[in-house]
């Protein structure tokens, strides 16, 4: 066999192997979660809070963690959105190519890669400084920090995809940058912005380390911004840590609930995005 043929088949095998590894591990994880979690899943899990002895294998559910997680990640995503959208519009519309812009992008990329426990520790000191306790609001703020880089860079990239000609069409009609951003770019990039939000939400709802100190954990339903709130990742963590197989299975069931939430949200955002694309110009 010739050298270039050998090369080609070598890289082909390499690519197939890595693809198989990725897909294989995904299915292994999903498979484990479903196989161990599904039998433990029942209506009570969705409708009840942990009762006395829940962590010893007695009855109850994880409604506290489901609601807590939805509130925490939802609030975090809204808070992050209020900062991300202006930043990404600033980066793309107002700032000309400068060292400052590159510095902002670099910092966001570094922040993206930061371990979430660092966000947790940072936000915890911030909460202490503000005189707050571990609370729902504290968790939301922490998750907002965590989600901010992902959301901003996602939005930044999707606005960057807008053809220059489209922006110029609006400028040429005498529109200001603000009018162009709000009336043209937001419509054009709506699907991309939505995807960025979902991506950030996904990271927020799945993160355990950052909410450990900042939102705390409670068996009660989240009823106040200033009280502690439970979350699904921590529910998984605590239940896995018990020595009882029945409770460990519930941990897998909780993980399955988390996966389902993300799946449902992806489906909703996809159908919303397709509605938004009606006017998008290509």
């Amino acid at each position: 066999m010739k050298k270039n043929k050998l090369e080609e088949s070598f890289f082909k095998i390499l690519m197939i192997t890595s693809l198989a590894t990725v897909i294989g591990s995904l299915f292994l994880i999903l498979g484990t979660v479903i196989l161990r979690g599904l039998p433990a899943l029942n209506v009570e899990m969705f409708t009840q809070i942990p009762k006395g002895g829940y962590y010893l294998g007695k009855e109850g559910g994880i409604l506290n963690a489901i609601l807590g997680s939805l509130f925490l990640a939802g609030g975090g995503t809204i808070l992050a959105l209020m900062v991300s959208l202006p930043i990404s519009i600033y980066l793309q519309i107002y700032a000309t190519r400068s060292h400052l812009v590159e510095l902002i992008r670099l910092s966001l990329d570094v922040l993206w890669g930061m371990p979430s426990i660092v966000y947790g520790a940072f936000a915890f000191t911030l909460l202490l400084f503000l005189g707050m306790r571990a609370s729902l609001l504290g968790g939301m703020i922490t998750l907002a920090f965590l989600e901010l880089p992902i959301m901003t860079r996602g939005m930044d990239e999707s606005i960057a995809m807008v053809p220059v000609t489209l922006k110029e069409s609006s400028y040429a009609l005498g529109a200001t940058r603000y009018e162009t951003a709000i009336k043209v770019l937001l419509r054009q990039t709506a699907p991309g912005l939505l995807t960025s939000m979902l991506l950030a939400f996904g990271r927020g709802i799945g993160d355990a380390a950052s909410v450990l100190f900042t939102a705390g954990y409670t068996d009660r339903l989240p009823d106040s911004l200033f009280g502690p709130a439970a979350s699904l990742p921590l529910a998984v963590f605590f239940q896995l840590g018990t020595p009882f197989p029945a409770v460990q299975d519930r941990a897998y069931a909780s993980a399955l609930v988390l996966t389902l939430i993300i799946l449902v949200l992806s489906l909703i955002s996809r159908s919303l995005a397709s509605r938004f694309t009606k006017h998008v110009v290509r």
Binding site: P163, T165, L173, R187
Partner: protein, 256 residues
């Protein structure tokens, strides 16, 4: 006749590469002025100086003056959005805004609040949108589907929509950058016809690399060569009795 636009000592640089060299020219009020010349001679650059859109490009430097009705549009304190409202643009490739056909035409009027005074609710704006769609020769084709996304129109229809959109803010000057280069001959002809009907009220500046188009469309011609303005004048004079050797060579197909 008093010129609509006077260009004085205009030079531009992309980084350290000079694109326009000390341009001095007058563009007469009303009628069609064509800017001709080979690719890369600075035609589009010159055109985009006239509504200050050029400065949206990174690394650009503009020096000199451009007077619109006697006001220097590069003077300090000039509101650039007002200049762009008075000087409209038709781009080479049509780019509708991501909204309906109706909203595309209404967009400019809405942002400038042109219809706030005569609050005949939506109906007034409906009439205005219709008027400009007619002016662009598109009304008959879209009247039943004004709420449809503009992106569903054909390229030729999109270009006429862009014309309606530009006209709707009532500019004194309309800049056209190779307005038919992306279009089929039939659509191109429609655009040319619309421009001809508009030229009695509006000052139109057309950039084109098609000599035939310049000849049949224009009243005045500016010939650019390598960033220099070589020759300008009424179309018959420049085409039939070019003074400069380069103009003669270009028109006869020897160069460019």
């Amino acid at each position: 006749m008093k010129p609509k636009i006077r260009i004085r000592s205009l030079s531009t640089w992309y980084g350290n590469q000079q694109a326009l060299r000390d341009i001095n020219a007058d563009i007469p009020a009303r009628g069609i002025t064509a800017i001709i010349g080979p690719s890369g001679c600075g035609k589009t650059t010159l055109l985009r100086c006239l509504n200050r859109l050029l400065e949206e490009t990174d690394g650009i430097c503009v020096m000199g003056r451009v007077f619109l009705d006697g006001t220097d549009i590069y003077a300090r304190g000039i509101d650039v959005t007002e200049i762009r409202t008075r000087v409209g643009l038709l781009a080479p490739k049509p780019f509708p805004l991501p909204m309906s056909i109706y909203e595309n035409v209404a967009y400019g009027r809405r942002i400038h609040g042109l219809d706030i005074l005569n609050k005949g609710n939506g109906r007034n704006l409906d009439k205005i949108v219709e008027r400009y769609l007619r002016a662009a020769g598109l009304w008959e084709e879209v009247q039943g589907r004004l709420d449809a996304p503009a992106s569903r129109l054909s390229t030729g229809q999109q270009q006429r929509l862009c014309l309606a959109r530009a006209l709707a803010v009532e500019p004194d000057v309309l800049l056209c950058d190779e307005p038919t280069s992306a279009l089929d001959p039939i659509s191109a002809q429609k655009i040319e016809e619309q421009l001809k009907t508009l030229k009695d009220e509006t000052t139109i500046v057309v950039v084109t690399h098609l000599l035939r188009q310049a000849y049949r469309l224009a009243d005045y011609v500016l010939f650019l060569w390598m960033g220099n303005l070589v020759e300008s004048g009424p179309v018959a004079q420049v085409f039939n009795h070019p003074e400069d050797e380069r103009t003669r060579a270009y028109l006869s197909g020897m160069i460019g």
